[in-house]
Amino acid sequence: MLDKRLLELLNQELDGTNSSRERQQVQALLSKNPGARRTFDELRHLASFLKAAPRLEPPPSLKRRILASLPKPRPSSQRVYPLFSLIKKLTEGTNVRYAYTFAGGAVAGILLFAFLTGSPSDTSSLVGAIGSSAPSQAIHSAEIDFPEIQGTFTAEATGNTVIATASINASEEIDFIVKFDEGKLLFERFQASDQSPGTVSIHPGRLELKGSGAMSYEFIFFRKSADAVALNADIMINGAKRSDVSVTLEQSSH
């Protein structure tokens, strides 16, 4: 039976971390102690046995899965919008008075536009004037209400983009499995609210959200055709199906 210090020296010898003095000690010991020699040989065999185990190549889809799961960069507090950027630029150096003139003009223009086109609270026409936006289909929503999980599962289509949103609060860990028809929808990405504690894994035709607590996730798809599309979600608790919810978007007019 080898003592603890001796075993430590043999292990360190295997790892190449012995000092030169310790190495000499080990060599002397190995030459005269058959038990130590046998133990050392066994350790070496174990190490080479483990080394021989092949390192697996990750599947090519892994990188795509990872990149598709990354949350969208959060808007930074330092984000500068074009109008403010221009104003900022003008206020620098000697151009201050031009900045005030421009800003004043811009505000006056917006107020005049709002006055001429409708009530100030009705901003829809203002949005329409700035940029074209595809009409959004009505939001379809399903309620989830169980003792362990409450929330909503909704789907909305804008042009060819379909956004499914799971806003749930689960008192214990759940799997929320969103299933979709790959013939009709192409999964693009997901994004989570800042504090959502869950994890999402992506599989062909399904997305698995796992976690507990308050979670809000948006799953964004590209709509491949104008056909009606359904999104179904299984709610699993402890590996067993608790319920399912479903939302359907009608045939698109696009």
């Binding site: 075993l7 046995f49 697996l56 190549e57 799961s69 990354l70 960069p73 894994s201």
Partner: protein, 181 residues
């Protein structure tokens, strides 16, 4: 940018350049996947873990301290994710036997030879504290110091765990008829 050092790429990511993160994924997806695979002995689970590791890393990138090595930081996330995964799985598996027999046999088909399968099964029989040091030392080639940093334990603790783990592992392999280990 492909040849930039890790901490430079991290800085690019923090400045909003997602391409830099893609390079980090290219660089580390294999070791992270293998690490997770050695923990779980399942290719599918290893994929899920690896995905979750990189997403967590991306989300917490602003907490990375460039004084340390990026891979140590990433492996720390990978080890934690793997352990959490195993704990969750333990809770979900009603019958522990599912893990210890059915699942393993299924995975055995994945391996191209028996020896590898024996290593995986012997590793699964090691308790987590031992398994993690064996994986980090023998499969990721990390030093005692690096393992200590990842696990937040002293180098001496790494050594004593590793030496005990080797002894235990040798016994487990012998039990499985691998006498030359």
């Amino acid at each position: 940018m492909k040849h930039e050092q890790d901490h430079v790429l991290v800085q690019h990511c923090l400045n909003g350049n997602q391409k830099a993160f893609e390079i980090l994924v290219d660089r580390y997806q294999k070791p992270v996947f293998n690490l997770a695979f050695r923990f779980t002995s399942s290719k599918e689970d290893a994929e899920d873990i690896a995905q979750s590791v990189f997403v967590k890393a991306f989300e917490k990138l602003n907490t990375f301290d460039p004084k340390f090595k990026f891979f140590s930081w990433l492996y720390k996330i990978a080890v934690n994710e793997s352990i959490n995964f195993l704990n969750r799985k333990k809770r979900f598996d009603t019958f522990d036997e599912d893990v210890h027999s059915g699942k393993r046999e299924q995975e055995e088909n994945f391996h191209d030879h028996e020896m590898t399968a024996s290593i995986d099964m012997a590793l699964l029989d090691l308790k987590i504290d031992y398994r993690v040091v064996v994986i980090l030392n023998h499969f990721q080639d990390l030093s005692y110091r690096e393992i200590g940093q990842i696990l937040d334990i002293h180098e001496n603790t790494v050594k004593s765990r590793l030496f005990s783990a080797r002894k235990k592992l040798k016994g487990l392999l012998l039990k499985r008829g691998i006498s030359h280990a």
